[in-house]
C-alpha cells in the first residue's frame, strides 16, 4: 500500500476527482492548505498599494492505493491537474504500514 499526497490547484479538484473515479478510486481526503513553490506568491491590492502575498491557497488530496496502481494513479493526477503554468503543484508517494476499515474491521488491501 502506498499513500499518494497531491498538492493541486483549487480549480483542478473536479477534473482530478473525475479522473480517479475513472480508474475505480472513489475514496479520498481533501484539505484546504496554503503554500508556495518557486512561483513565490501573488500580488494583491490594498487601497493605494500593491502587496506580495507569499502563500497561495491550494488543495491537498490524500489517497491510499494498491502498490500496483501507484504509477497509473500518479499519471492520472499528473494529467488531470496540469495546466503547464508555474503553480501546478506536487505529488508525493510514501509507504503505508496497514489500513483498517472502521465499520467492518477489514484490514490490509481489503480496507482500501
Amino acid at each position: 500500500m502506498k499513500r499518494i499526497e497531491a498538492i493541486i490547484r483549487e480549480e483542478k479538484l473536479d477534473t482530478v476527482r473525475e479522473s480517479l473515479t475513472e480508474v475505480g478510486y472513489y475514496g479520498m481526503t481533501v484539505t484546504e492548505v496554503s503554500g508556495r513553490g518557486k512561483q513565490g506568491g501573488i500580488t494583491i491590492q490594498w487601497r493605494v498599494e500593491d502587496y506580495q502575498v507569499h502563500f497561495l491557497p491550494k488543495l491537498k488530496i490524500e489517497i491510499v492505493v494498491l502498490d500496483e496502481d501507484v504509477d497509473r494513479i500518479v499519471a492520472k493526477i499528473m494529467h488531470s491537474a496540469r495546466t503547464g503554468e508555474r503553480g501546478d503543484g506536487k505529488i508525493f508517494v510514501m509507504p503505508v504500514e496497514n489500513a483498517y476499515r472502521i465499520r467492518t474491521g477489514e484490514s490490509g488491501n481489503d480496507a482500501i
Partner: protein, 411 residues
C-alpha cells in the same frame, strides 16, 4: 411652533439611520484588519455606542447645545436632559420634539468618536481607548459641536456653514486620528513592512453599504424638516457617494485592477465630502465634490504611506481630508437658491464665504490635532496606550477580550 408630525417622523427615522452607521463603521473597519484583531476592532465601535450615548444625555448634549454658555462651550441648562422634553426646544429644530433633536445629535457624537478608532487598530489597549474616548468627547467633540451648531458658538457666528458635520464630525475625527497615532506609534508589523491585508472584504462592503444607507439620515435629517431641503440633501448625498465610488474605481483600475476596497473607500470619501455641503449645493455640484474627494483621498494615503505613518485605516485621508475638501467646496458651490437660509459661495458671488469656510476648517483641524496630541500623551502616562509586544503578536481578540471570531470543530 407646534410639533409637526412629518418632521418628527423624519428626524426619528434619521436618528435610527445614523445609529446604524456606527455598527457600519465597525464592519467597515473590522473587515480591514487581520482576523486576529477583528473583534477588538468592532468592539471599540460598540463600546463607544454605549458609553457616548450615556455621556450625551448626562452632560454632552448640554455642553454642545445648551444656551447661556459662551462662544466656546454650551451651558449647563440641559444637564441630565433637564428641560429636554416632548415639546420643541424653541431654539433648534422648532417643529420637532426637543427629545428627538437631542437623540439625533447624540448619534453624531457617537459615530464621530467611533471613526477615530480606525487609526489605532491592532495595537491600542482597550481600557486606554475608552479613557481617551471619554476625554476626547468631552473636550473636543462637545466644544466643536457648540462652535458650529450651538446657540452662540463662534464659528456659527462667523458665518461658517457645516450642514451635517464636515467640520464637527469628519475634520475633528481625521485630525485627531493623525495626532493620536503620533503618540501611539505604528504597528510592529507595519514598521517591519510585513503585508497586512484585509481579512474579510465582503464585511467591508456590508459596512460601506450600511454607512451609505445611514448617510441619508445623517445628511437628509440635518435639514431638521421633512421637505424640499431634506430631499436636496438626500439627492446630493447619493450623487457624491456615487461619483466618489466611480472615481476611486477608475483610479484603482489604472493602478492595476478595479478593487472592491477601492470602490467602497471612494464612496465613503464622496459621502464625507458632501456632508458639510449637502443642504447648500445643487445636485449637480455634488458630482465634482465626490470626484475631487476620491482623488484627494487616494493621494493623501500615498503621502501618508510614504511618510511611514501608520494611521492604519486612513481616517485622516478619507474622512479628514474628504471633509476638509467638502467644507471648502461648500464655500465655493453654496447657493441661496437651494437654501434661502444659507449663503452664496464664491461661484455665486460671495468670496468671503470661502474664507469663512477656510477659517472654520483650519481652526477646528488645529484645535482637534493639538488637544488630541495632549490627551494622547496624558492617557499614555495614566494607563499606557499600547498593548505589550506579545499581545500585539497574539492578536487583540484573545489578548484584550478572550474571544475569537472564527471558530471551527476543534474549539
Amino acid at each position: 411652533m407646534p410639533v409637526d408630525s412629518g418632521d418628527t417622523t423624519w428626524i426619528l427615522i434619521s436618528a435610527a439611520l445614523v445609529m446604524l452607521m456606527t455598527p457600519g463603521v465597525s464592519l467597515f473597519y473590522g473587515g480591514m484588519v487581520r482576523r486576529k484583531n477583528v473583534l477588538s476592532t468592532m468592539m471599540m465601535s460598540f463600546a463607544i455606542l454605549g458609553v457616548i450615548a450615556l455621556l450625551w444625555v448626562l452632560y454632552g448634549y448640554s455642553f454642545a447645545f445648551a444656551p447661556q454658555g459662551n462662544s466656546f462651550i454650551g451651558g449647563l441648562g440641559f444637564l441630565g436632559l433637564n428641560g429636554v422634553g416632548q415639546g420643541p426646544s424653541g431654539i433648534y429644530a422648532t417643529t420637532v420634539p426637543h427629545l428627538a433633536f437631542m437623540v439625533y445629535q447624540g448619534m453624531f457624537a457617537i459615530i464621530t468618536v467611533a471613526l477615530i478608532t480606525g487609526a489605532v487598530v491592532e495595537r491600542i489597549k482597550f481600557s486606554s481607548l475608552l479613557l481617551f474616548s471619554v476625554l476626547w468627547f468631552t473636550i473636543v467633540y462637545c466644544p466643536v459641536a457648540h462652535w458650529v451648531w450651538g446657540q452662540g458658538g463662534w464659528l456659527g457666528g462667523l458665518g461658517t456653514i457645516d450642514f451635517a458635520g464636515g467640520i464637527v464630525v469628519h475634520i475633528t475625527a481625521g485630525a485627531s486620528a493623525l495626532a493620536l497615532v503620533k503618540v501611539l506609534g505604528p504597528r510592529k508589523d507595519y514598521l517591519e513592512g510585513k503585508p497586512m491585508v484585509a481579512h474579510n472584504i465582503p464585511m467591508i462592503a456590508i459596512g460601506a453599504a450600511l454607512l451609505w444607507f445611514g448617510w441619508f439620515g445623517f445628511n437628509g435629517g440635518s435639514a431638521l424638516t421633512a421637505g424640499g431641503l431634506a430631499s436636496n440633501a438626500f439627492v446630493t448625498t447619493n450623487i457624491a457617494g456615487a461619483s466618489g465610488a466611480v472615481t476611486w474605481m477608475i483610479i484603482s483600475w489604472v493602478q492595476r485592477k478595479p478593487t472592491l476596497i477601492g470602490v467602497t473607500t471612494g464612496a465613503i470619501a464622496g459621502l464625507a465630502a458632501i456632508t458639510p455641503a449637502a443642504g447648500y449645493v445643487t445636485p449637480l455640484a455634488a458630482i465634482p465634490i465626490g470626484i475631487v474627494s476620491s482623488i484627494i483621498g487616494y493621494y493623501c494615503i500615498i503621502f501618508r504611506n510614504n511618510r511611514r505613518i501608520d494611521e492604519s485605516l486612513d481616517v485622516w485621508a478619507v474622512h479628514g481630508m474628504g471633509g476638509t475638501w467638502g467644507v471648502l467646496a461648500a464655500g465655493l458651490f453654496a447657493s441661496s437658491a437651494i437654501n434661502p437660509a444659507g449663503p452664496d459661495g464664491a461661484i455665486f458671488g460671495d468670496g468671503m464665504q470661502f474664507v469663512n469656510q477656510l477659517a472654520g476648517a483650519a481652526s477646528v483641524f488645529g484645535y482637534s490635532f493639538g488637544i488630541t496630541l495632549g490627551l494622547s500623551k496624558l492617557v499614555d502616562k495614566i494607563t499606557g496606550l499600547r498593548v505589550s509586544e506579545h499581545e500585539e503578536t497574539v492578536g487583540l481578540d484573545i489578548a484584550q477580550h478572550s474571544e475569537t471570531a472564527y471558530g471551527g470543530f476543534l474549539r
